[in-house]
């Protein structure tokens, strides 16, 4: 099935942001 370039980038951005959340929240100090 044909998927336009913008849709691939959209999916890629979603995955990237998910990874970002898991990485950055490792640095949150627990209260």
């Amino acid at each position: 099935m044909f998927i336009p370039t913008h849709m691939w980038i959209y999916l890629g951005m979603f995955v990237l942001m998910l990874c970002y959340i898991f990485i950055i929240t490792k640095y949150i100090k627990e209260d």
Binding site: P4, M7, Y10, M13, M17, Y20
Partner: protein, 484 residues
Amino acid sequence: MDTINKGYLIGMLLYFVIVLTVGYLAARATRSENDFALGGRSIPPLFLAFSFIMTFTSSSAFVGEPGLAYIFGWPWFWFAIFCMPAVIIPATLITKRLRAYTGSLESLTIPAFLRKRYDSSSVGILATIALFIFYVAAMIAQLKAVTVIFGTMFNLSATLSVIIFTLVVTIYVTAGGFKAVVWTDVIQGSVMVLISIAVGFVAIRSVGGFSGLNSGLAAQGASLVTLTESTFVTPLAVLLMPVWLIFLTAANPYLVMRHMALPDTKKKTLVSYFIYLLILQGVILFTYLGGLSAKVLLPELSNPDYAIPQLIDTLMPSFFGALFFAGIIAAIMSTMDSMLILLSTSITEDIYVPYFRPDLSDKGRLFSQRVGIVVIAVLVAILGLIKLPNLLSLMVFFSVSGAGAAMLGPLCLGLYWDRGTKQGALVSMVLGPLSYAYLQYGMGVNLFIAGVTGGVIALVTMIAVSLATSAPSAEIINRMRAEL
């Protein structure tokens, strides 16, 4: 549409009844100024995430921005792509500090926080005035969206649309405050998420899949299927778009007030809040696929703002259409109600109480917030009836860019940089929005370039003026950090 669709009418009336009931229930749970402005800081992260996304996407996700997808084709899709980092990156960077600092300094609004952070009533007043100017303009743009929807659905005149809508919003926000805002966002947000996915899916299917969409778009203009285009979504604009969006979501108080309302700053609360935000933002802009498909299915639309309403009317069953239209109205309400609460609380806290009634009781403040909402809503409705903007989303972008440029220096630097001073904040709040407005409207510079330049000028002036003036009191900074 020549005749009024009864399904739409019943759906809309039902929605108004739900909203007013929620307003009534929330009013019973609202006993203090804190309850009214921030829901008593006891609302679960999932609900706040719904509320943030519904407010951020606002009417422009369903009316204005699909209109831009209709005009510019796939290049406009960059906007949907960059909305995800624009929501997530600022949220991860400012939520914990903002929640902790506003808690320590007992601030219900961003202007109140700035007033205490910089120990300056001028900073609080100037912030309130700047937000008032830009958010009143943003609310007028929301009224334009209302007239588009009610015009398409019920052939209602612009005047009657504005009056009915303003009346409903004013009643439930005045009664239930922030709790009513969040609860209505959750009810409609959950419906809208499902419907955005459905609209995207049905629209793409009706044009014969992505390959059908692209060949249909290409037949109408080669620039509709390219990565960028040469008039508005230029390569430079695409590069600056995420920076501009991040400035907006980091610095617009009507959005970041959700971060302030989190129940606590524990790791578990924050992680779940961020993930909910990402998932909701990820699916809500599938409406752009509707805007693109409308270009193929309805190429002769006189006003691109009508792309999604017309598409729904053409493709969807009546019941579905009623839900969708009620959802759009909810999205419009969720932007307008947040701005009303923020402005009325700011005016009460930063102007009315300190200068006119310093001895006002909590009950009196609550009453003042409610009166403020009615007064501002009436003012917006009157201004809206005098003149409505032509292209909705551009008016919204102007308002949130201006307010963002005003708040970026004092708010975002104020959270991370202890050396920031009140003089820096004051100059930044004036020069940021003025330089943005001059670039865009005085010199005709592209929205994204003007927005980013305005933001950079705001940050640079904040740093330069702060360094040139004496450091703020260490006592306030230490008190602010008490809960971090």
